[in-house]
């Protein structure tokens, strides 16, 4: 359905950028949460949203939010979602109400949802304002780091009335991340270039979720200090930084073709040691519990790269 419409292709990059959570504009608080079904839940825009027991009709306005809802066991109560919501498999058969950046308000209203889970930075503000004005209950979510994913799982559990399974999902996620951290964060530092997109060449800095994953694995992001969350370094800057490892998510789930152009630069340490790695983008570029799996793959890759170092540096 999306195919054959050039517009969708033109929007692929901005969508991917938005999905990377470029420039979070909401403040995040870190105080511990009380679990009380009647209390207001604070959403990621700092609004108070009151739960109403167990909403049976939920609409999710972003692919990663659909994943989060399935992860806490509220997935079977989703009545509609947006294009590209492809995980888990049940999500693919859900009715669609437009794309995350261009919503079909009529269908949303006609479905009469009891709760709308929105993406604070990705959904169009004018359209969300209209939905709120029409009296729909909207909860905004914007996980931007590992702690944020766990926190949003718990908060979504509270607002959808699935606190126990949400707590289990959040705890399991925290345990997986904690295990990875315990195992890898003390390993010998290794310099990494993470490629988000090409062209233009894009990477992430240390404040980005992927940057956090790199640090957890003991990687040193060669562009970690740049100010922009998703900087666009030139190819020269990458050559000058001469990373030991190059990792990319690629344009599709099984397309590592972005790594090929690097092989021409035989002076690069990463190329000489064959340290070019591909990680399926949905495992590392979406703020969902699956990022634990993606981070595990990333840590494995960096560990392999360490073994390919000359003896004394391992």
């Amino acid at each position: 359905m999306t195919r054959g419409i050039p517009l969708t292709n033109r929007l692929a990059l901005p969508l991917a950028l938005a999905a990377l959570g470029v420039l979070p504009w909401i403040g995040l608080s870190a105080e511990p949460e009380r679990i009380d079904p009647d209390a207001a839940v604070i959403d990621d825009r700092g609004r108070e949203v009151y739960g109403s027991g167990r909403p049976e009709r939920i609409i999710s306005l972003a692919p990663h939010l659909t994943e989060l809802l399935f992860a806490i066991g509220a997935g079977e109560r989703i009545i509609a979602t947006v294009e590209h919501a492809d995980h888990p498999a049940q999500a693919r058969s859900l009715p669609r109400i437009g794309s995350a950046v261009q919503l079909d308000l009529e269908r949303i209203v006609a479905l009469d949802p009891q709760l709308v889970i929105a993406w604070a930075s990705g959904n169009p503000r004018a359209q969300m304002e209209r939905l709120e004005a029409l009296g729909l209950k909207v909860y905004y979510s914007e996980p931007t780091d590992f702690a944020g994913i766990a926190r949003d799982l718990r908060r979504l559990g509270q607002i959808t009335g699935t606190m126990h399974s949400a707590e289990a999902a959040a705890a399991a996620f925290e345990r997986e991340i904690g295990d990875l951290r315990a195992r890898y964060s003390g390993r010998a530092p290794i310099t990494v270039f993470y490629q988000v997109w090409d062209p233009p060449l894009m990477t992430v800095n240390d404040r980005h979720l992927i940057g956090e994953a790199l640090q957890l694995c003991g990687g040193t992001n060669v562009f970690g200090d740049l100010k922009a969350l998703v900087p666009r370094p030139g190819r020269e800057a990458v050559l000058a930084a001469n990373p030991e490892v190059i990792v990319t998510g690629g344009p599709g789930e099984d397309r590592a073709d972005w790594l090929e152009p690097w092989r021409a630069w035989t002076g690069l340490t990463a190329v000489q040691r064959d340290n070019l790695f591909f990680i399926p983008p949905s495992l590392i570029q979406r703020p969902t519990p699956r990022i634990a799996e993606g981070t595990g793959l990333l840590c494995d890759a960096l560990e392999q790269a360490r073994l390919r170092r000359p003896e004394p540096d391992r």
Binding site: M1, L7, V22, L23, R96, G98, R107, P124, R125, Q127
Partner: protein
């Protein structure tokens, strides 16, 4: 061409036909949507009945958007007609003098600063007016000003704004980026009310009507106008300011919807001639009709996916315009 005979029977017929078509377009826009409502249900809403859902769909979603679309289309067509007379250039459109670029930079800066939507609109309007003043001030310069000079100044200032937009999008890719791209393509989903565009449209059509005779003379060239006793300088100032305010109001409402401002005045000239007294009110109606229908298609044709309306205005308008142009030659 009833240049000197005044608005006659033919003008009245033209306006009545257009007004009738406008009513049909608005009705169609309210009847149609991505959710199917029976015509009877829609009519029930207007007679004060109807289900809650039908009332919400028609009164809260479709009607405000339809009104915004109609007013925006009317504004763009009127602005285009005025610019074409002012610059005496058939390629002139409302954006040729950089007004949309100024508005886009204003909106983008407000978005980057994380300001609310009201500020974004206000900032867009301020950007449009700033661009207007820059272009007119520079084109006026030492006192000698010609349409060519104004046009060239405007085109270069527009290119400058384009560079600023690209720069901002490149160094500060904000989460608003997809929304901004839709805005640059023209998108009525972002319209937040139609009060400003309607007020502007009514005021500008009322102001332009008494200017109609002078505009007719101006359209033949400034020398003739001066000979015939029209104060060219003041008239051109007035037309320029009117066109700028009109464009700013349109851009602030729905982003840079392309094509309507260029094509609608030309289509009307091919059909009803170049009498500005008739052309301007007719452009207000025809522009409104085109954009209303285009937006109806944009929100329904591949629903639930939504298209920016700018795509549809061109798809509907290009064949229509080419047909009229072809026919006018034979």
């Amino acid at each position: 061409m009833s240049l000197e005979t005044g608005p006659g029977f033919r003008s009245v017929v033209t306006l009545v036909v257009l007004a009738g078509s406008a009513a049909v377009a608005v009705l169609a826009s309210v009847m149609l949507g991505s959710v199917r409502l029976a015509p009877a249900e829609v009519l029930a809403v207007f007679s004060g009945h109807g289900s809650d859902l039908a009332r919400m769909l028609v009164l809260d979603l479709r009607l405000p958007r339809t009104l915004a679309a109609f007013a925006t289309g009317g504004l763009l067509a009127v602005a285009g007609a005025l610019m074409q007379v002012l610059l005496r250039n058939p390629l002139a459109d409302p954006y040729v003098l950089g007004i949309s670029g100024g508005a886009a930079v204003g909106a983008l800066l407000a978005m980057i600063a994380g300001l609310g939507l009201g500020w974004v609109s206000g900032s867009a309007f301020a950007g449009a007016m700033l661009s207007t003043l820059i272009v007119f001030g520079l084109a006026h310069g030492t006192g000698s000003w010609t349409p060519t000079r104004l046009l060239l100044t405007g085109v270069v200032v527009a290119a400058g704004w384009g560079a600023v937009i690209t720069f901002l999008l490149a160094v500060r890719p904000s989460p608003e980026l997809p929304g901004m791209l839709y805005w640059l393509m023209g998108d009525l989903a972002q319209a937040r009310g139609s009060g400003l565009p309607w007020l502007t449209l009514l005021v500008v059509v009322l102001l332009a009507l008494p200017l109609g005779r002078s505009l007719n003379v101006l359209a033949r060239g400034p020398m003739q106008a001066a000979v015939l006793g029209v104060s060219v300088y003041r008239l051109e100032w007035a037309v320029y300011l009117l066109a700028a305010v009109v464009t700013a109001a349109a851009v602030t409402t729905a982003g840079t919807v392309g094509f309507v401002g260029l094509i609608v005045p030309h289509m009307l000239r091919l059909v009803i001639g170049n009498d500005q007294r008739l052309l301007i009110p007719a452009a207000a109606l025809a522009g409104g009709i085109l954009l209303t229908l285009a937006d109806t298609v944009a929100r329904t044709v591949i629903a639930p996916q939504q298209l920016p309306v700018g795509v549809i205005t061109a798809m509907l308008g290009v064949p229509l315009f080419l047909f009229l142009l072809y026919r006018s030659r034979t």
